[in-house]
């Protein structure tokens, strides 16, 4: 029998599945009053896709014929994700600052 070897994909899948469960419980505990900030902050964090965009900008040119495309696409994607990151977190911050308790 060959030595047991588990593809890294399986570990990633495990993390993915567990994170769905974490997300499920965490999001149910979010108060309905904050559902709009929830949407804007999930927007901001899903822009962590910027890591893929940065890798794409950072390709070594001349290595493969498609490198220049990858660089260009990565550049645009980085800019789009940056709009989202800054916009998303800042607008969330602005909204959250408005939620105040009754002053007694």
């Amino acid at each position: 029998m060959e030595a047991a070897f588990v593809d890294p994909f399986v570990f990633r899948l495990a993390i993915f599945v567990l994170a769905i469960f974490v997300g499920y419980y965490v999001v149910w505990s979010v108060t309905p009053a904050l559902h709009t900030p929830l949407m804007s902050v999930t927007n901001a964090i899903s822009s962590v896709i910027i890591v893929g965009a940065l890798i794409s900008v950072g390709v070594q040119l001349g290595e493969a014929e498609g490198g220049i495309f990858a660089k260009g696409l990565g550049f645009v994607a980085t800019a789009l994700a940056a709009v989202n990151i800054f916009g998303g977190f800042l607008v969330t911050q602005r909204m959250l600052a408005m939620y105040k308790k009754k002053d007694r």
Binding site: F9, R12, I15, A19, I20, G23, V26, V27, S29, T31, P32, A33, L34, H35, T36, P37, M39, S40, V41, N43, I45, S46, V48, I49, I50, V51, G52, A53, L54, I55, S56, V57, G58, V59, L61, A64, G66, G67, F69, A70, K71, L73, G74, F75, A77, T78, A79, L80, A81, A82, V83, N84, G87, G88, V91, R94, Y99, K100, K101, D103
Partner: protein
């Protein structure tokens, strides 16, 4: 250069910080701290990526800095300037950017697989190709769907559903074509081609448009939540391609968050997710009372009447809806509530889950007008208090107060949870005219003895009431 293990651990840390960012939203007090965790997590993820770039040269850094400064600057300006009433369209626009970024990253990986460690051009590993294709398809659907949602919410496009003949057949065929294309692409390495990947992308863009076009304005809370969820799944697909833990965790979080919000919104309307997605709701107004013209009289009142009634009331429950957002009446409303409180009236707010155009829309607007959040209640927490309230002040809401949802099985909104405003001693109903609500259903409430209609623009009416108080 960091070792692969350290890099992976740092991405894990940022994933955990993102979980904490969402966890913080369980209460307004902890939410600001949570947002800070989110920003730290994002910074860690970006820095980690930057130190491990393949081409560490001036061109790369120049491009990155320009992209971050321009994109970040635009984002910051938008975040500062946007009016709170425009949040639904802003969120839709942001979703479209995540979707488009996912598409572009997938294409970047397609052209330069070496940099992503997933093979070489047109010889991409099958597993990665599956993940990328799913990422590109979902990303493209998110993009085009969000663009339509944005146009509808922003008023660039009519909110009315646009029904194409045979749309279910067209959509089903296109979905089949996309799935078939992905299967074919991944089946044999010889099938990898730019044209096929492009065809999958384009078809996904088109189906995104077609899915959202037939969905009407008041179903937008579901659509926006659903697109939120899609943007998460698209990110997760790309995360698998990159083997990036931060992206995988975030994708899962956002995907489930959007799914839960969609579920809550559907429940708030007593509609199945499928029926919302199939669209067309609110298109035919013939649903109830077809062809029958309403002739029953309604009781009309003026601002002075309303002011008199509320001044002498012990408690007032305010029920805001989308109309309040349209008229920007939240600040005037707060002013009215303050005057009433000085008169010794107890004021609280009742929010229906689907009031407005996105989840939590009304809460944000009231918070903007400095209404303390502990005066604002959700449907299940306040519904039994209407029977003890002297006045229910309905402003810009309609279908969510319709008692026939409880009594008339023939009504299209039958079974939808509604606010029991009719149980209050007096119902003051601010409305522009006698038109029916979004669902095209006559509201029983208008003809009740204890209802007084205040026909005017919501903001003007509230301002006049403040004057007469």
């Amino acid at each position: 250069m960091l070792s692969a293990n350290v890099t992976a651990l740092l991405y894990l840390v940022s994933g955990v910080l993102f979980i904490l960012a969402l966890r913080g939203l369980s209460s307004p007090e902890t939410s600001r701290q949570g947002n800070t965790y989110g920003m730290i997590g994002m910074t860690i993820a970006i820095l980690t990526t930057l130190v491990s770039l393949e081409a560490n040269n001036a061109l790369t850094w120049g491009l990155i800095i320009v992209a971050l400064v321009v994109g970040g600057g635009v984002g910051a300006v938008i975040a500062r300037r946007i009016a709170m009433t425009q949040m639904p369209q802003l969120v839709a626009a942001f979703h479209s950017l995540v979707g488009l970024a996912a598409v572009l990253v997938a294409w970047g990986a397609f052209y330069s697989p070496e940099a992503f460690g997933i093979g070489s051009f047109l010889h991409i590993k099958v597993a990665s190709l599956v993940e990328m294709s799913l990422g590109v398809a979902i990303g493209a659907i998110t993009f085009s769907g969000s663009v339509i949602a944005f146009a509808k919410l922003n008023g660039n496009m009519s909110g009315a559903p646009i029904i194409l003949p045979g749309r279910h057949v067209i959509n089903a065929l296109m979905a089949l074509a996309i799935v078939g294309g992905i299967v074919f692409l991944c089946l044999d390495p010889a099938n990898q081609s730019v044209e096929l990947f492009l065809a999958i992308t384009i078809l996904s863009f088109i189906i995104g448009f077609l899915i959202i076009i037939p969905i009407g304005g008041a179903d937008m809370p579901v659509v926006v939540s659903m697109l939120n969820s899609y943007s998460g799944w698209a990110a997760a697909g790309i995360g698998f391609t990159l083997g990036n833990l931060a992206l995988i965790i975030t994708g899962a979080l956002v995907g489930s968050s959007g799914a839960i919000l969609s579920y809550i919104m559907c429940k708030g309307m007593n509609r199945s997710f499928i029926s919302v997605i199939l669209g067309g709701f609110g298109a035919d107004t013939s649903a109830a009372g077809a062809g029958h013209v309403e002739t029953r009289p309604v009781k009309q009142g003026s601002a002075d009447d309303a002011a008199f009634i509320m001044k002498n009331a012990g408690s007032v429950i305010i029920v805001p809806g989308y109309g309040m957002a349209v008229a920007q009446a939240q600040h005037a409303l707060k002013e009215m509530a303050d005057v009433l409180k000085e008169e010794g009236v107890k004021v609280s707010y009742a929010i229906h889950p689907v009031a407005g155009r996105m989840p939590g829309h009304m809460n944000v607007l009231l918070a903007e007008a400095n209404v303390p959040y502990d005066e604002v209640f959700e449907l299940e927490d306040i519904n039994n208090q209407f029977s003890q309230a002297d006045v229910a002040f309905v402003i810009g809401a309609n279908d969510v107060t319709n008692p026939s949802a409880k009594t008339d099985p023939a009504s299209p909104i039958f079974g939808m949870p509604v606010l029991d405003v009719e149980k209050a001693k007096t119902v003051l109903f601010v409305k522009r005219g006698m038109g029916s609500g979004y669902a095209g259903v006559e509201n029983e409430l208008f003809f009740r003895d204890n209802t007084m209609m205040l026909f005017a623009d919501a903001k003007k009416m509230v301002e006049e009431i403040v004057k007469s108080l």
